[in-house]
C-alpha cells in the first residue's frame, strides 16, 4: 500500500516555529502530530490536524543524542493513540532547506515507536516526520503492515508543495 501525508501549511509553520525553540539541554526538540486516515483505493491518505510539543520537562539529559524524550512523553502519545484511534507521528526537524531523510538514530527510534503505536491503534497509520525549512520526509507504518513505507508528503496551502522525490505513484 502507498501513503500520502497531506499536511496543512499552517500546521507545518506551527511545528517549524515550535521545533526551532531552544531547549535547556536537548540539542533539538520533538513533538507529536495527530491525524486521521482516509483511503483512496490502495492509497492511504493521512491528514494531520493537531500538533503537540513534548513539554520541556519530558526531555532526558543525554549528550550522546540530539534529543531524548522520557517515558512520560511516549506514554502520553501512546495513550492518545489508544483512546482516540488517531494517527500519531513523531516529529522533529533537521536544518537547511529541501529534501531530507531520517538519520540512523532516527530510524532506530521510529522502529520502536511505529510498531508500538500500531499496537495501540491498529486502524490508524503511525510513524515519523522530519522537517526542513521547506519540506520534509515521512516514514509510516500502515494498518496491518509490518514494514514501514516511505510516504509522500504534501504541504497544503499557499504555496502547495508536493513531494517530487518519491511520488505516491498514482
Amino acid at each position: 500500500m502507498k501513503c500520502i501525508v497531506r499536511l496543512r501549511r499552517n500546521l507545518f509553520d506551527e511545528m517549524r516555529s515550535d521545533l526551532r525553540r531552544r531547549h535547556a539541554h536537548a540539542f533539538e526538540r520533538v513533538g507529536f502530530l495527530y491525524g486521521r486516515l482516509g483511503r483512496a483505493g490502495s492509497i492511504a491518505i493521512v491528514v494531520p490536524f493537531e500538533y503537540t510539543p513534548v513539554p520541556d520537562e519530558q526531555y532526558v539529559e543525554d549528550r550522546t543524542v540530539s534529543a531524548m524524550i522520557d517515558a512520560d512523553a511516549l506514554f502520553d502519545a501512546h495513550q492518545r493513540a489508544r483512546s482516540t484511534g488517531q494517527c500519531c507521528l513523531h516529529v522533529h526537524a533537521h536544518g537547511g532547506s529541501g529534501g531530507t531523510w531520517f538519520s540512523r538514530t532516527d530510524v532506530s527510534t521510529l522502529d520502536r515507536i511505529g510498531p508500538s503505536l500500531q499496537r495501540m491503534a491498529k486502524s490508524a497509520a503511525h510513524g515519523g516526520l522530519v522537517l526542513t525549512k521547506t519540506t520534509g520526509a515521512c516514514l509510516m507504518w500502515l494498518p496491518e503492515e509490518t514494514k514501514p513505507v516511505r510516504s509522500a508528503l504534501s504541504i497544503v496551502g499557499f504555496p502547495l508543495t508536493l513531494d517530487r522525490g518519491g511520488s505516491h505513484g498514482c
Binding site: 504534501s154 499557499f158 498514482c170
Partner: protein
C-alpha cells in the same frame, strides 16, 4: 532543471516549474464548457497526470462552447470525458496519464481523493458544496468556476461568474458567503435542478484561464504573493469584462474556516450514541 524547448516560453515560472507541474495530479469534475477549457490549458502548460469525471455525452447544444467537441462527436454521442482525454493527449507529452471516469465523481470518488488539486466545473450549489466537503476531508485545495446569465428586464442580460480557490484550514465557500443555506434550499426546492443555464465560450474561457492561473501560482508561487484572507474569491462581470476580488471578501474576518473543524478529516468518525 532548465525548461525544455516545449516550455521555454514559460521559463519565467522558475527552473522547477516543469517538474512541479508534471508531478501534480489534478482532478477535474465536470468536462463541459468550463472544464474542457481547464483541461486544454493544463495540458498545454505541462500537467501530466489527470483525473476526469463527467457522466454526460456531448449534444449539439454543447458545440457553442465545449472545447475539443466536434460535429462527429455529436453524431456519435461521445462522452465528454473522452473528448477531454483526446484533447489532452493531442498536446501533452506522450507520458501523460489520463484517468477518465464516465460517471459522477460521487459514484466512485477514489481517484478524486488521490488528486493534489481539484477543479470543480459543475452546475449547482449542492454539487459544489459536496466537492468542497470532499476536498476538506482529504486536504485538497479546491478551485471552483461557474457562470450565470440572468435577465435584468429593461437593463438586458447580466453575465456574472466566479473563480474561487479555497485551501484546507482557510475560509471555505460558506465562509465567503458564496454558498449558504438559502441558495442550497432554493435549489433543493427546484428538486436540485440547477437549470439550463446560458453559457458562452468566451466567458468560460475567462473563468478557466483565471482558474488555471491560480493553480499555477498555488503550485509554484511565481507571483510571490499570498492571498490576504487565505482564500481567493474573484468575480467576473461579463458585461464589462472585468475580473475583480468579490466584495464579500471584506466580511471574512478570520483566516480560519468556521464550518470545517480541524479534526473533521479522513474517513467520517462515527460515534455510538
Amino acid at each position: 532543471m532548465a525548461a525544455s524547448s516545449r516550455f521555454s516560453r514559460q521559463g519565467f515560472l522558475g527552473p522547477d516549474a516543469e517538474d512541479i507541474l508534471a508531478t501534480a495530479r489534478v482532478g477535474i469534475a465536470g468536462l463541459g464548457g468550463g472544464g474542457s477549457h481547464v483541461a486544454q490549458q493544463l495540458a498545454h502548460l505541462g500537467f501530466r497526470n489527470f483525473v476526469l469525471y463527467d457522466d454526460d455525452a456531448i449534444e449539439e447544444s454543447n458545440l457553442n462552447r465545449l472545447i475539443g467537441g466536434t460535429n462527429i462527436d455529436v453524431a456519435m454521442s461521445t462522452p465528454k470525458v473522452l473528448i477531454a482525454e483526446r484533447l489532452i493527449r493531442s498536446v501533452a507529452a506522450p507520458s501523460v496519464v489520463v484517468e477518465q471516469h464516465q460517471k459522477a465523481w460521487q459514484d466512485d470518488p477514489t481517484a478524486l481523493r488521490s488528486c493534489d488539486l481539484v477543479f470543480g466545473c459543475v452546475d449547482g450549489y449542492r454539487q459544489r458544496w459536496e466537492l468542497q466537503i470532499m476536498s476538506r476531508r482529504f486536504c485538497i485545495p479546491y478551485i471552483d468556476i461557474g457562470l450565470d446569465v440572468t435577465n435584468a428586464g429593461d437593463e438586458g442580460p447580466k453575465m456574472r461568474g466566479q473563480v474561487i480557490l479555497t485551501v484546507p484550514g482557510g475560509p471555505c465557500m460558506r465562509c465567503i458567503g458564496f454558498i449558504d443555506d438559502e441558495n442550497l434550499s432554493d435549489e433543493g426546492r427546484r428538486y436540485g435542478d440547477a437549470g439550463i443555464r446560458p453559457q458562452v465560450v468566451w466567458a468560460n474561457g475567462v473563468l478557466a484561464s483565471t482558474a488555471v492561473g491560480l493553480a499555477i501560482d498555488l503550485l509554484n508561487g511565481w507571483t510571490r504573493t499570498v492571498p490576504e484572507k487565505g482564500v481567493v474569491y474573484l468575480s467576473y462581470d461579463g458585461n464589462t469584462g472585468l475580473v475583480f476580488p468579490d466584495k464579500r471578501l471584506r466580511y471574512v474576518k478570520s483566516p480560519k474556516c468556521s464550518h470545517f473543524p480541524d479534526d473533521e478529516v479522513g474517513e467520517p468518525l462515527w460515534q455510538s450514541l
